[in-house]
């Protein structure tokens, strides 16, 4: 039978080069590049004002088989530890009760971020035109699915094996009561998936992941370990083993647009907006969770922030890109002020608004107050004296008939919500970089706490329409809102949130809150 030219060519080639008996993963990767998929005329559903280059690389040379093998080993190690030794030593009950509450917030919120990052990286896969860049984004999409499941598993684990399950289980049902969820959705959802695709990459990868995952997912494991929690380091350090590829993806996004004219016009503004968006929430919330949500302190939050955000992310990522026109974020000065004070400002408000949460908070002890004063000179005079007064009035005891929100009303210290970040602030009392400014637009008064958010809102006011809790519940009584929005435990009357973690302390119920007759009103009405 006659053979075709193609068969003859293949036979001749194999005679000279025998078929390989083994091939390394990186040889496969190189071979895949020879397919030279042409995405140059890619039509994306998610356009960007930047032109992404067609020859951008992926730094780790992933192929599907090695990716799957790596991730399965990670999961095997993680679940092996959790289900064997950690369960056997009753690790869930060895966590300090204050830190147990902190993990209700951190793992639930991170789960939302990971979930939105699935969509964000899917969008970026669609927008990019370089095959290797697409490969990197695609692996990240798979990672984000893994991380969503991991965070869900942390909550499940704490619920099943730990103490005080309420808040670990199904925290999302409480999401509309208090202000913390809405701010989180601004950074973890809107920031990652709304708007220009490259802007989303800057928010998610260059700032969210390259900068803030280091305190959020790495440094947090030190705080966890110090407070008896071996579960969080086991899972979070495994999550972070994927984040380095995400950071590289963010960097390669910048590489892909570095020579585009649009970069000289827009990149510094987009970077500054992303930095401010992410820091405005992460800086105070993480600082509050670490310092006020722990018993054993690792180091002052401002030092953690200075190391991971200012020196390392600022110097090693942003500083090095200076010669390509990337500038130090204009908002850095205000961010640094926030890193020193904003978490103290936020705890003051979070404790005042404790019934609207899904976790338990604790006032600083005398020993902790000394630690705060030593590390933040001026803390006691400004914040400590307020906590002493609240404690004297019995704020932890339901029989006292006092929640600290009443103290704000009595002393005429109105609490506003920043329209852009959704972060609450009290202009009279804050020492962070927040001051009140108001804009009336489309028949509605909008309050803002800083120049940077105000500037973003002036550019795109339609993007920030989210109703805050004062607008949403104006005229309604607090216990009625908590009951309607699932803020109670399985007995149907005890609040999930509590102003203490004392296992012998009396728990607040809906009746205790009802007796206070707290009715929501919108403070902007008085402006």
């Amino acid at each position: 039978m006659a053979i075709s030219a193609a068969t003859k060519a293949a036979t001749d080639a194999l005679a000279v080069n025998r078929a390989p008996t083994s091939v390394s993963a990186q040889e496969v990767h190189r071979w895949l590049q020879s397919f030279t998929w042409d995405f140059d005329k890619n039509r994306s559903k998610y356009p960007t004002k930047y032109k992404m280059a067609n020859d951008t690389k992926e730094q780790f040379k992933l192929i599907a088989k090695e990716y799957a093998r790596m991730e399965s080993v990670k999961d095997e190690r993680q679940f092996g530890s959790l289900q064997d030794v950690l369960t056997r030593i009753d690790a869930g009950n060895k966590v300090h009760p204050k830190w147990n509450e902190t993990m209700k917030v951190i793992s639930n919120f991170l789960e939302v971020g990971e979930y939105n990052a699935i969509a964000a990286t899917g969008m970026l896969w669609d927008s990019a035109s370089a095959p290797e860049q697409k490969n990197g984004y695609l692996a990240q999409t798979l990672d984000e699915i893994r991380h969503t499941n991991q965070c869900g598993y942390v909550n499940y684990y704490f619920t099943k094996h730990g103490q005080d399950a309420a808040g670990h289980n199904d925290a999302r049902r409480t999401r509309t009561i208090g202000p913390l969820w809405k701010g989180m959705k601004r950074v973890f959802s809107d920031g990652f998936i709304s708007g220009d695709a490259v802007e989303c990459s800057i928010n998610l990868q260059l700032v969210g992941e390259a900068c803030f995952t280091n305190p959020l997912i790495v440094a947090v494991t030190e705080w966890a370990a110090a407070n008896g929690d071996e579960i969080t380091p086991t899972v979070f350090l495994s999550i972070e083993t994927d984040e380095l590829r995400h950071m590289a993806n963010g960097y390669q996004t910048i590489v892909s647009i570095a020579n585009d004219e649009a970069a000289s016009k827009y990149l510094n503004t987009d970077l500054n907006n992303a930095f401010w968006t992410q820091q405005k929430y992460f800086t105070p919330v993480l600082g509050m969770m670490f310092e006020y949500g722990s018993h054993f302190k690792v180091e002052p939050w401002v030092k953690t922030w200075n190391r991971w955000v200012y020196e390392d992310w600022g110097g090693i990522w942003i500083g090095r890109l200076g010669k390509y026109g990337v500038e130090s974020p204009a908002s850095l000065r205000d961010a640094k002020k926030d890193a020193y004070w904003a978490h103290h400002d936020l705890f003051l408000l979070a404790y005042a608004l404790w019934p609207t949460g899904f976790f338990r908070l604790t006032l600083p002890t005398a020993e902790e107050a000394d630690w705060f004063e030593e590390n933040y000179p001026g803390w006691h005079e400004h914040y400590g004296v307020i906590y002493e007064e609240w404690r004297k009035r019995g704020c932890e005891d339901p029989n006292s008939g006092f929640i600290p929100l009443m103290w704000f009303i009595e002393n005429n210290h109105p609490i506003y919500i920043d329209r852009v970040s959704q972060v609450p602030f009290c202009p009279d009392l804050c020492k962070g970089a927040s001051t009140l400014r108001v804009h009336e637009y489309n028949g509605k008064k909008n309050t803002f706490s800083d120049d940077w958010g105000e500037r973003m809102w002036l550019t795109e006011p339609e993007r920030y329409e989210c109703q805050n809790m004062f607008e949403q519940y104006a005229g309604r009584e607090l216990s009625e809102v908590i009951a309607e929005l699932h803020g109670v435990r399985s007995d149907g009357k005890t609040l999930i949130a509590q102003p203490h973690t004392d296992k012998d302390g009396k728990m607040w119920t809906l009746d205790d809150i009802k007796a206070l007759n707290c009715v929501f009103s919108d403070p902007v009405d008085a402006l």
Binding site: F60, E374, N375
Partner: protein, 140 residues
Amino acid sequence: MSNNANSYGAGIMAKTGKEFADEYFAEENQVVHESHEVVLVLKKSDEMNIIVEEILLGDRKDDNPTLVVEDRAGYWWLKATGKIEIDCEEAAEILGKDFNVYDFLVDVSSTIGRAFTLGETFTITSELMGLDRKLEDLES
């Protein structure tokens, strides 16, 4: 604790209270400063513990005297000026088992700098890969 400028508690981190605040809020520290350091976070595991102790702090200690390694509970925190490089063929020999660069990535928890693989070598560098220098593919 090392006296190396790259150590975890070096520079401003050694200061407390007002002394820390004065430097933190100083005018010159209100913008980022370019840094040629790199940071690597390795999740503790049998393999990483041996790589840190036997290679980075052992046979290869003299390769980069600026390298600092600190124990931060669940992870090793490494910082160096310039670059940190790990040859996974060398690691495999010490570990006494197959161990390629993807096995190494299983426990690399974070990188600050440009990290990449080439063959069986993992590198994190302060160089701007893709901008100052091209990322290479494995040669035939």
